[in-house]
Amino acid sequence: MAAAPAAPIGLASVAADALVALGDWTAFSLRAVRGVFSRNLLVAEFVRLCLTVGLGSVGVIAITGAFIGMVLAVQSYGQLHQIGLETSLGGLIHMSVVRELGPVLAAIMLAGRVGSAMAAELGTMRVTEQLDALACLGVDPVRHLVAPRFLACVLMIPLLTILADIMGLAGSTFVCLRIYGIDPHHYWEHTRAFVGMWDVFVGLTKSVLFGGVIALVACHRGFHGEAGAQGVGRAATQAFVVSFIAILAMDFVFGLVANSVHDMIWPPNGARPA
């Protein structure tokens, strides 16, 4: 009987811990974002980070984007071909790539490639007391280290998303037109009818949000990791897992919000802007 209330208390303490962690992360993030506007932002460090985040991810994102486009084409062709609608593949695939798969895949690749590396780098700096040394030399480690990483991710991820989109379109177009021999005229006509500037805008806007969250989650994990080599490893893993879940959850919420905004601006019975 005595053990009965343990479960709700345990649950409450887990919820309380989660709230404290969220509050801590929010305060950390606000401090980092404020650092972006500080005149002490290091330009050379920022450029180096942009190259690591952006240029360093080009290969992996181009390959992932192209394969996703091709896989989607192969998967959807069989079903649409049976009902004679294969020419709508263009609209269908391009819409999914531009609105969903491009931004989400670019973000997941960035979280895996850049986010965990950031957490490990900052975690190592914490373990070797370099973060403390920064503070002792009169420099706020959050502003000095997190602000340029946040900015680099936020600025680079839309470009990487555009790359993922283009490679996805190229991959699906190659499979549809070259392998399945779909009529190019109808294929592109459907794309034009389905995919508009609004979809590109929604895709890129959410990619910016994803980029910011990836950088802030990764840096926060690095700053608050546990001691030792194991702690650094755990921080890197946590950075990826937490950002991965955050990306999917935000994608869902953002999708709902974007649809409501779209319906507010262009009511469903009205004409859809191209």
Partner: protein
């Protein structure tokens, strides 16, 4: 009565359920060289981090020149830290920067100095800690443990601190390098009016450089009402201390149960 430069008032530190410091009160006068000794895990490094505000006490207060660190805003805290030099245990050099940029870091961040003046100051500090010319361009990864400590000391001294905190400055070094670092601590003190706090296990460092010794005992092996500071006095008095815990540490004996 003058205000002490550094003061800890009934400080307690807890990490979750682990209690590291309890009821510690200490005052350090300007110009003193104090050694904190005690077994590993008795909270010595914690004390250094409390002094410079890297760690906030769970209870009690830390004062710098009579001003509470709790009452300090971010700007005051930064200004205070710029007056304190910290030599970290592993030197904590920024491994993406050269030796020169490491030593120049604080000067550049503080601003107000021309590039030529910064270069001059860095060269001077590196010479002061006995590093050969040409070391400026090296990366920390290329340096030995002793050289890293020297660069760390040069970096801490670059801003002409009023207080120097040394976290186990000679741990992991060979006996000759230990003597070199002890010599540097003495030389640093001789050259400028600096107050020093040294956390160490090395009795030789205590005898050579300290004019006051404070010994702490791990809380896990104390009764709830026993004070954590088991000795506070001169190095000469330390050798004659009657407390068996102090004598055991000074003589470096382990307690053996038959």
């Amino acid at each position: 009565m003058t205000t002490p430069l550094l003061e800890l008032k009934d400080v307690a530190v807890r990490f979750g359920t682990q209690e590291v410091l309890r009821g510690v009160s200490l005052a350090i006068e300007p110009g003193q060289t104090v050694a904190f000794i005690g077994e590993s895990g008795c909270g010595k490094t914690c004390l250094l981090k409390l002094i410079v505000g890297l760690l906030k006490p769970t209870e009690g207060d830390v004062l710098f020149e009579g001003k509470s660190l709790r009452a300090m805003g971010e700007r005051d805290l930064t200004a205070m830290r710029l007056r304190v030099g910290f030599l970290f245990q592993g030197a904590a050099l920024f491994d993406s920067l050269t030796v020169f940029d490491n030593v120049a870091f604080g000067l550049k961040a503080k601003g107000g100095l021309a590039a030529a003046a910064i270069r001059e100051r860095v060269t001077e500090r590196l010479r002061e800690v006995g590093l050969p010319e040409g070391v400026e361009a090296k990366m920390p990864g290329e340096l030995s443990g002793g050289m890293k400590k020297r660069v760390g000391l040069a970096r801490a001294l670059a801003l002409d601190p009023a207080v120097m905190l040394y976290d186990e400055p000679t741990t992991g070094l060979d006996p000759v390098m230990t003597d070199v670092i002890n010599g540097l601590i003495l030389q640093t003190r001789a050259k400028r009016p600096v107050t020093s706090v040294i956390v160490t296990h090395e009795m030789r460092t205590v005898r050579d450089v300290a004019d006051r010794v404070v010994m702490f005992h791990p809380l896990a092996r104390l009764e709830p009402d026993e004070p954590q500071v088991v000795f506070d006095g001169s190095p000469a008095a330390l050798a004659a201390a009657p407390d068996p815990r102090v004598r055991q540490f000074v003589e470096g004996r382990a307690v053996r149960t038959e």
